[in-house]
């Protein structure tokens, strides 16, 4: 069960959204997030919602997966909704004590919750349609202008770290499982007892895990050295990212959507 955990939550469906260059996708995500915040009235936010639901539909990822992510932040969504209920002008619908729910509050609560939900949906759309590896490449590429301010090593190191993290998460998860089983076989009780006891019971798991990850690191470093790794300088990449027509069209659609949001903001 634990073995199947992967970092990120890529879902293959081969849609157009999947084929957009990861760099473009990240930039468009930032653009769309900005415009979700800029949408200042009901019409523009509903239009944003429409746009985002179209993206979800096109992505070919089951809606239940998006809903799952929304469920994770349900408490935040509810708190936002409840708090905003009481922060509104206008006619009081229900009042008790010093608080009253107004029409303005209801509108505001709906509007703020929708905004958060949209943020979750659009960010999930990125992680569902882009492999962690592509994301890593894209982030490295997007940060590459930093080399002009003397940070070239930092960018390369960051990308290399992300690559290694992606590679070693499943290995360490599996190892944790093994150590847990080994300690259980020796009579360790991990499930019962007070919170303090259970925290203490984790120590015999964490120490071996720490030691083994240091050993992994040491051996990995030697193996990398043996494969002529000398840092980022002079390194090339097999995978080259090339912009295609899909990237151009998707960017056009996004920009068009943003213009409509601005227009709706002005008109209403």
């Amino acid at each position: 069960m634990l073995k199947d955990i992967t970092f990120g939550q890529y879902y293959e469906s081969g849609s157009v959204i999947h084929r957009i260059d990861a760099r473009v996708k990240i930039l468009l995500l930032i653009l769309i997030i900005v415009f979700i915040f800029i949408s200042s009235n009901l019409f523009s936010i509903l239009f944003s919602a429409l746009g985002i639901f179209t993206i979800i539909l096109v992505s070919g990822v089951p809606f239940s997966l998006y809903a799952k992510n929304l469920k994770a932040i349900l408490p935040i969504l509810l708190i936002t909704f409840v708090i905003n209920l009481f922060y509104g002008e206008g006619e009081a619908l229900i009042s008790f004590w010093k608080l009253s729910i107004t029409t303005g509050g209801l509108y505001r609560a709906f509007y703020m919750s929708l905004r958060i939900a949209l943020l979750i949906f659009i960010s999930s759309a990125l992680t569902y349609t882009t492999t962690p590896n592509d994301l890593t490449y894209a982030i490295e590429k997007l940060l590459s202008p930093l080399k002009y301010v003397g940070l070239q090593n930092a960018v390369h190191t960051l990308a290399m770290m992300m690559t290694i993290v992606l590679r070693f998460i499943p290995i360490l998860v599996e190892e944790t499982q093994k150590i847990m089983n080994a300690q259980k076989a020796r009579g360790a009780d991990l499930e019962n007892g007070s919170l303090m006891r259970r925290i203490k019971a984790l120590i015999p798991i964490l120490i071996p895990l720490l030691i083994s990850s240091i050993r992994h690191a040491y051996e990995l470093a030697e193996a990398m050295e043996c494969r002529c790794y000398t840092g980022g300088e002079g390194r090339t990449r097999m995978k080259q990212m090339r912009l295609t027509k899909i990237d151009f069209y998707s960017s056009c659609f996004a920009v068009l959507g943003c213009l409509i949001v601005i227009l709706l903001n002005i008109i209403f």
């Binding site: 590896n133 990449r237 097999m238």
Partner: protein
């Protein structure tokens, strides 16, 4: 004779708990280009240290290691020596860097600054050479130990080395994976003419080698063909190595008065030898 690797009177010392130990002592070895050499020895015989000395990961305390005319002590040749002498380690998980097979194989050539198109070609060729091309887009985590180790070998071949040093590449594998690796190594040696130095403590793996070097306590105690090494059962046992079952059987037969030759390795050869001995007995 054209030697790709020359180890000349090398001593390697390391300090542990303020005590100086020497892993290899006044050690000399020359490896012929294109050959398949097996270095046998039990744990602590200095064989892993030797492997790391050969590709310059460790520098000798005394003496020199010369790879294709380049001294490993010379910093100028550091990367070039590592490219020419590829190294495969015991644990496949600690050698794979990327989470997609093709990207991992590309890691070496990328470090060498090779053109993207050329890397693509090399990655495909290397994966085909180890019969793992169908897994080009897979995640190493979902592969078996033997498959992961073959990916590690492909990652080395992609750098187009002249020589591959394998440091107990089969120690963590099941019998099936072990067989896959040995067949792959043999194929690379025969078809691509890559010099192979295989370090192991499984004697069966030495069966197809051109030459077997037995190490004990940082020194060579025997250096000959597999057949001759295998027939010297007493010497092998004295350094704590397990003799292959066939040799063991023939050895006890001979000790009990049967006239069999003990210099055979494969099961078929052993069966033939026993049959011959039985016929002699009848007559």
């Amino acid at each position: 004779m054209d030697n790709i690797i020359e180890v000349k009177n090398v001593t390697y010392e390391y300090v542990d708990d303020n005590l100086t130990h020497s892993a290899v002592k006044d050690f000399s070895l020359a490896v012929e280009r294109g050959s398949f050499t097996v270095i046998l020895g039990h744990n602590g015989s200095g064989k892993s240290t030797l492997a790391k000395l050969i590709n310059g990961l460790y520098k000798p305390t005394k003496g020199d290691v010369i790879v294709d005319g380049m001294n490993t002590k010379d910093e100028l040749y550091e990367t070039e020596i590592k490219r020419r002498v590829g190294m495969v380690f015991q644990n496949p998980d600690n050698q794979l860097i990327a989470s997609i097979v093709e990207e991992d194989v590309a890691f070496g050539p990328e470090n060498l600054g090779i053109e993207p198109d050329e890397i693509r070609k090399r990655v495909d060729e290397s994966l085909k050479a180890v019969d793992m091309y169908e897994f080009v887009k897979s995640t190493p985590h979902h592969l078996s130990g033997g498959q992961k180790q073959r990916i590690a070998i492909a990652g080395i071949i992609a750098m187009q080395p002249d020589c591959i040093v394998l440091d107990e590449p089969t120690a963590m594998l099941d019998p099936k994976g072990r067989k896959e690796i040995i067949n792959t190594i043999l194929k690379l040696n025969r078809e691509k003419n890559i010099t192979v130095i295989l370090i192991t403590h499984y004697m069966e793996e030495a069966e197809n080698a051109d030459r077997v070097v037995v190490m004990n306590d940082g020194a060579i105690i025997a250096d000959s063909t597999p057949k001759r090494i295998f027939s010297d059962v007493e010497m092998l046992k004295s350094v704590g190595l397990d003799v292959p079952q066939t040799t063991e059987l023939l050895y006890s037969l001979k000790k009990n008065g049967f006239d069999v030759s003990t210099d055979v390795i494969s099961i078929k050869e052993a069966a033939d030898a026993i049959e011959k001995a039985l016929h002699l007995e009848e007559k």
